[in-house]
């Protein structure tokens, strides 16, 4: 993995406009890119840098240079040459000899590997061979060895071939090659490498279903494999967490699975220990996923996750905080609504400048109207929910103000809120107030709630024990 650090310019550009300054400052202050980078692959970081270039927080030349440095060890020679030209500002400048040499060398290696693996790839494309495959890896390997003269070296060459393909930037191809490698290889270490490689390929080719599969595989590998030193295990988990951020925010269907993964004890510990900044994404993901709660079971899970989230945020407040986590802290730890509102304003800025979170505003930005931010929407929801829980009578004007809405919008908002959720409330139009009704939970109801699942759970447990 790359240990590349972007050279963040120390002095703010003097040409920055006065009003734009604060937004950029916030964006810079809470820019997580440098923290995330050590845990990502070069090819993944490339996209982060590309995003930063679009955002123009940092001088473009520096970022260009950074991108160039980043990609230098890879085999994407053509792209590198383009970059080099860009850096030096002229299209027609002479390309240094090293580039050409390198390109030649890469091409040579590439064709050598191609030759080496030609036989095995050929075999794998042969339907006769495929039809003879069983579920047992050893058997397959034996079969290939016996009937087609495949050696272990050839299989290992396949892995190298896959790496080379990845390094060239042909991710689809790499993904296929690694897939075939995994079918054949019995070396668990190498299979692991291949899995990581495949995950990167899937992410880069925006194949989220594939990526999710790989994430599951890696997770199992990390959990089951006996690690000699726990640090290595921790590091692998940390990587996985960072890589999983890509599907988390780009693939709606994967969100619940990944959140579940993140909230499992091992991973939440990893987040707390080695990468507390991921909490920002966790908060964002949990808040935004609140809306689409389907069944009551899902709602229960979400509630639990939210509780866990608040707890973790509280615990890590001294180690990591940004406007997004502070928002949660203000709302659910201090119950300071004014503070929460302020933080929400800052958080909006942060979200706009974050590679992963920008999806929340990007989708609707094209409409041209006031950019609606999914996160901000959900956060408002959260505020009003908390507000209603505590209050008995609320002034609509005041509430709309808190939610950054006009009076009419606020009223509409509240109506929707009452409609959507199970809040027991009425609007007193004359006085301009909302009246909440908090029926005390009956004791009987409480007891029933608490003991509801008990019998079933005990039965399950009993069955499991007797087995």
């Amino acid at each position: 993995m790359s240990s590349e650090e972007p050279r963040v310019p120390a002095v703010a550009d003097a040409t920055n406009q006065a009003e734009g300054l604060s937004a950029i400052e916030i964006a810079r202050k809470y820019d997580l890119t440098p923290k995330i980078m050590p845990y990502l692959d070069r090819h993944l970081i490339f996209h982060l840098l590309a995003f930063l270039r679009d955002q123009q927080f940092y001088p473009a030349e520096e970022l260009l240079q950074n991108t160039y440095d980043l990609l230098e060890p890879t085999n994407m020679t053509d792209y590198l040459m383009d970059l080099w030209k860009q850096i030096h500002g002229k299209e027609d400048i002479d390309i240094p000899r090293e580039f050409l040499l390198k390109r030649e060398k890469v091409m040579q290696e590439w064709s050598a590997l191609q030759d080496e693996t030609a036989k095995i790839t050929g075999l794998l494309e042969n339907p006769d061979v495929i039809s003879n495959f069983r579920s047992d890896k050893m058997q397959n390997l034996q079969f290939l060895k016996d009937n087609h003269g495949v050696t272990d070296d050839m299989i290992d060459a396949l892995l190298k071939y896959g790496q080379a393909a990845y390094s060239r930037g042909s991710y689809d191809q790499a993904s296929d090659i690694l897939y075939s490698f995994r079918i054949l290889s019995t070396d668990s270490d190498k299979v692991n490498q291949a899995t990581w490689g495949k995950l990167a390929c899937e992410i880069l080719t925006v194949n989220w279903e594939g990526a999710m599969e790989e994430i599951q595989k890696i997770k199992e590998a990390i959990d089951t494999k006996p690690f000699l030193n726990p640090t290595a295990q921790l590091q692998q988990r940390t990587w996985l967490i960072h890589w999983a951020l890509f599907p988390l925010f780009n693939h709606e269907a994967a969100r619940d699975t990944i959140l579940e993964l993140f909230f499992s004890p091992n991973f939440i510990n990893t987040i707390q220990t080695s990468c507390p900044w991921v909490l920002r994404y966790l908060v964002a993901a949990v808040i935004t996923s609140k809306k689409n709660s389907g069944s009551s079971r899902a709602a229960a899970i979400q509630q639990k996750q939210f509780k866990d989230l608040v707890r973790v945020v509280r615990q890590e407040l001294y180690e990591y905080s940004d406007p997004i986590t502070e928002f949660i802290a203000a709302l659910h730890l201090d119950f300071d609504f004014e503070e929460a509102q302020k933080k929400l304003g800052e958080a909006e800025e942060v979200i706009r400048s974050d590679f992963f979170l920008q999806v929340f505003c990007a989708t609707e930005q094209s409409e041209g109207v006031e950019p609606k931010n999914a996160f901000v929407e959900s956060a408002r929801h959260l505020i009003s929910e908390a507000y209603c829980r505590i209050h008995q009578r609320i002034d609509i004007t005041d509430l709309s103000q808190r939610l950054n809405l006009s009076q009419d919008d606020g009223e509409k908002w509240i109506v929707n809120l009452i409609k959507d959720t199970r809040v027991d409330a009425k609007i007193d139009y004359k006085n301009g107030t909302v009246i909440m009704n908090h029926p005390p939970q009956s004791v009987y109801q409480q007891v029933i709630e608490k003991t509801k699942g008990g019998f079933f759970r005990t039965q399950v447990l009993h069955a499991a024990v007797t087995r």
Binding site: Y318, D336, R389, G454, T458
Partner: protein
């Protein structure tokens, strides 16, 4: 000269003192006075020597320091007696003469008996007669001369004894036991005895035939004739100093560069034996040191000298005298300097013993390394321990203590220096492995630093740095020292230990590091380190001093939390130690009150005394108590108010100690004005419970001990804010049943808090379901809901359902752990640990006890004496 002989005549056994009565009968009447003086003197010295002869362990040792001095005094005294004698009348002198003759006769008889006994090899008789002979000579010898026959006899006896000893070795048959014993004792005594008469004996040996024939008159000045180079010329004219000088002077003759090793060998062989005079040895060695020239000689002498100095004091409770300590410190410094200047000599524990002392000392070729056996680390350890011991024993309120404490700088310098020495050794491949010596020195260093404030560390570092540079030549290591920043020095030293050590030193280093961090206000860092170290799980297996360090660290972390206004964290840290009621014992800051049910043996008590920390390392107990009680008050009073009268809630006690003391305090019929810290806190607690936060605030602020803390003003500020908040909560809890609606503005006036703050506090209480109420935004009021009171049966039903679900959760968790660890062999109650293998590197969230559901158990249990108490304060989170 004469006096000294007189004194030494008394060497004999006490047995002769009774026989002495027989022959002195006649003179008694004549020189009663003199004799009386003599007698007493005699018996005194006999006793002394007896002590030396037989088991001289403790008394002899203590006496030794003064021995030289008292001898001189005695000599002065006895000489006076002699002078008196001389100035007596003529008649008296005549009779004395007669007495002398008589004595000589007796001496001759004794000698004859000895000679006879020699023939039949009867050592028992020889021994007896030898004692008698010595007595007689002493009696007779209040003149100037030793009778020549005596010299002859002892010389012959020595020869014969040596012969016998040689024969004995080869003889097929051994002597019988009594004989052998007598021989042995005479061997020792004779050697010592003859040492005084060395000159005479050598004269005799030189001319055996004529020696006796020489007229006595001529003999008289003989001993005073300077037949050899005297070290001190004043011995001639100053009789009083004669004794010590004879022996010392006599030695000085032989103390030459060539014979250094011979003497050393003798001294080293005598080490640990009974009746070796260590002061004397030290003096000899000091002389030898002056003579020593080559580094090898210096090193050898210094090593022997330092260990002899340490031998001076032993026993558990006694400590080294300050002057000896200082001398040892200087010598150790010299030793290190010699080693620094001569890198080809090293001292290692498994060095080669250079047996052949006669040979010229080896000269190593440049670049080669010659090993001398010895142990720098044990010297440093001992020096350190002795200082600690003396600090333990000195009354801390005297200036002596402060002066002694000043020596720590010198000690620290030595530790640093020896660390550099070991670093040099470890860098050198040729030197054999130095084991954990380096780690041990580094640990010593850490232990001297960790409890000190930054400024002091800086000074002490600075001092050791300047001292070192001024003293010795420039060295590469010297520059290394400079770069150590006082703020990070403990950190860097500790990380050295983390990397290179895996024993108890590492544990201690961790604790010291945590302590240091806590002292410097890094609460979160120190807490995280504490939890990640997982020490609380196995600290009760550690040795007691480490446990004490653990307790100290825990308490310090608690105080740090308190200073950073983290009340509940502080409370849970301090609870463990302060709640036990045996604070003094747990922190080794004095022996606690004796428990009624267990009696402590003197042995235990002695051990406990040994473990006590010197005063300057103490953590102020009163401050601790004040912090603990204040924290408990801030947590307990609202909790008690919230619990109201419901018996179930009453059971949830945060601090038992606090409750007990509060009850005790409330039982007082006439509470007077507060006198001590405890009174202040409890009266404040009562005021707080009654809703009178101002009074409570005043009482807490009046506690004087806060001034010990840095920036006590801001601390007091923090405390009063906390009291306001908790007062508000207590008020609402207490009076909720009596109100329908409460105005927030009124509340904010009552408790002098911002309205926003009041709203936040109340909201929090509502959100946590602590009160059944809601806010009315328009009227800015708090509206209480009615009809939420539950009956007793309902409460019980709720509690039961809670417990049932808790039980299910617990079972599920246990099963999960079992399944994970792959050992599903029946569900056992109380499976404590989850499959540890499946966890990341800094496993923070492990459970170490089966705490109830929902608790992330960040702390893990910690046990001292089997108790398991949760450490970190995640209580409030589990509630939510």
């Amino acid at each position: 000269m004469a006096t000294s002989r007189f004194f030494h005549g008394g060497l004999g056994d006490s047995e002769s003192s009774s026989s002495e009565e027989d022959y002195s009968e006649e003179e008694e009447e004549l020189e009663e006075d003199a004799q009386a003086e003599d007698e007493s003197d005699e018996s005194e010295s006999t006793e002394d020597d007896d002590g030396d002869d037989s088991d001289d362990d403790d008394d002899g040792e203590l006496e030794d320091g003064n021995a030289g001095e008292s001898q001189n005094k005695r000599n002065l005294f006895t000489r006076d007696v002699v002078d008196e004698d001389d100035s007596d009348e003529d008649g008296l002198r005549r009779i004395v003469k007669n007495k002398k003759d008589k004595r000589f006769e007796e001496i001759e008889t004794s000698i004859r008996l000895i000679e006879n006994a020699e023939k039949i090899n009867d050592w028992f008789v020889i021994s007896q007669e030898f004692d008698k002979l010595n007595k007689l000579v002493t009696k007779a010898g209040h003149g100037d001369v030793v009778p020549k026959p005596y010299i002859k006899a002892v010389a012959d006896l020595e020869d014969f004894m040596n012969e016998t000893l040689v024969k004995e070795k080869t003889a097929p048959k051994k002597m019988n036991a009594t004989n052998a014993k007598a021989l042995n004792s005479i061997k020792q005594r004779l050697k010592r005895n003859n040492r005084q008469y060395e000159q005479e004996i050598s004269q005799y040996r030189a001319d055996k035939e004529n020696y006796l024939l020489e007229p006595e008159i001529e003999d008289i000045p003989a001993p005073q004739k300077p037949t050899f180079e005297r070290a001190e010329p004043e011995s001639v004219d100053d009789d009083s100093g004669a004794y010590s000088i004879v022996t010392r002077g006599g030695k000085a003759v032989q103390l030459t560069k060539e014979s250094i090793f011979k003497h050393l060998k003798v001294i080293i062989e005598a080490r640990g034996k009974k009746n070796t005079d260590r002061t004397e040895q030290i003096r000899t060695m000091e002389k030898l040191l002056e003579l020593a020239q080559t580094p090898y000689q210096k090193i050898r002498v210094l090593v022997a000298l330092i260990s002899t100095r340490y031998d001076l004091s032993f026993g558990v409770l006694s400590y080294m005298a300050t002057d000896q300590w200082k001398a040892a410190e200087i010598e150790l410094n010299n030793l290190l300097q010699v080693l620094e200047e001569n890198p080809s000599w090293v001292i290692v524990e498994n060095g080669d013993e250079w047996d052949d002392d006669e040979k010229a000392p080896p000269t190593p070729a440049p670049g080669e390394i010659f090993k001398i056996s010895g142990s720098i680390i044990s010297f440093v350890d001992r020096l350190d321990d002795e200082l600690t011991k003396s600090l333990q024993n000195i009354d801390p309120h005297t200036t002596e203590y402060v002066e002694r404490l000043g020596d720590e700088a010198a000690l620290y310098k030595i530790i640093v220096r020896s660390q550099m020495y070991f670093e040099r050794l470890s860098g050198n491949k040729k030197a054999s492995s130095i084991g954990d010596n380096l780690n041990r020195t580094v640990m010593r260093r850490v232990e001297h630093l960790y409890y000190k404030p930054l400024a002091v560390i800086e000074t002490i570092e600075e001092a050791s740095y300047t001292l070192l540079t001024s003293e010795s030549s420039s060295d590469v290591l010297r520059s290394d020292l400079r770069k150590e920043n006082p703020a990070t020095i403990v950190q860097s030293l500790c990380s050295h230990l983390y990397k290179n050590d895996s024993t108890i030193l590492r544990t201690r280093a961790m604790l010291c590091h945590i302590y240091h961090l806590a002292l410097r206000e890094n609460f979160y860092k120190s807490r995280d380190m504490f939890l990640m170290s997982h020490l609380q799980e196995n600290i009760h297996n550690a040795d007691i001093t480490t446990q004490i360090l653990y307790n100290r660290t825990l308490v310090q972390v608690g105080l740090c939390a308190f200073r950073n206004s983290l009340i509940s964290e502080a409370q849970s840290c301090l609870q463990e130690i302060l709640g036990s009621g045996r604070v003094k014992e747990h922190l080794a800051q004095g022996v606690g009150p004796q428990s009624r049910y267990s009696t402590i043996t003197p042995e235990q008590e002695r051990l406990e005394k040994q473990r006590q920390l010197p005063f300057h390392m103490h953590i102020n107990l009163e401050l601790l108590e004040a912090a603990y009680l204040t924290c408990s008050m801030l947590l307990e009073i609202p909790a008690m108010a919230a619990a109201g009268s419901s018996p179930d809630m009453r059971k949830k006690v945060i601090s038992k100690t606090f409750r007990r003391m509060l009850e005790f305090h409330e039982r007082n019929v006439f509470p007077g004005p507060p006198e001590n810290t405890r009174d202040h806190v409890f009266q404040a607690a009562n005021a707080l419970a009654a809703g009178d936060w101002k009074k409570s605030c005043d009482l807490i602020q009046a506690i004087k001990i806060w001034d010990l803390l840095p920036n006590s003003e801001s601390l007091k500020q923090m405390l009063s804010v906390r009291i306001q908040e908790e007062g508000l909560r207590t008020y609402i809890f207490t009076y909720a049943p009596f109100y329908d609606v409460l105005s927030l503005t009124r509340l904010s006036e009552m408790f002098d808090l911002e309205e926003r703050k009041v709203a936040a506090l109340v909201s929090k209480m509502i959100a946590h379901d602590e009160i059944a109420a809601a806010l009315d935004q328009i009227n800015k009021t708090l509206v209480f809901r009615k009809g939420v009171e539950v009956s007793r049966l309902q409460t019980l039903a709720l509690a039961l359902s809670d417990k049932a679900s808790g039980l299910i959760e617990l079972n599920e968790r246990v099963f999960e752990q079992k399944a994970q660890s792959g050992a599903v062999g029946g569900l056992q109650e109380n499976t404590t640990r989850p499959g540890g293998g499946g966890r990341g590197g800094k496993p923070r969230g492990e459970f170490s006890g089966n705490s109830g559901g929902g608790n992330r158990g960040r702390g893990g249990g910690r046990g001292r004496g089997g108790r398991n108490v949760q450490f970190a304060g995640e209580r409030s989170t589990t509630k939510s």
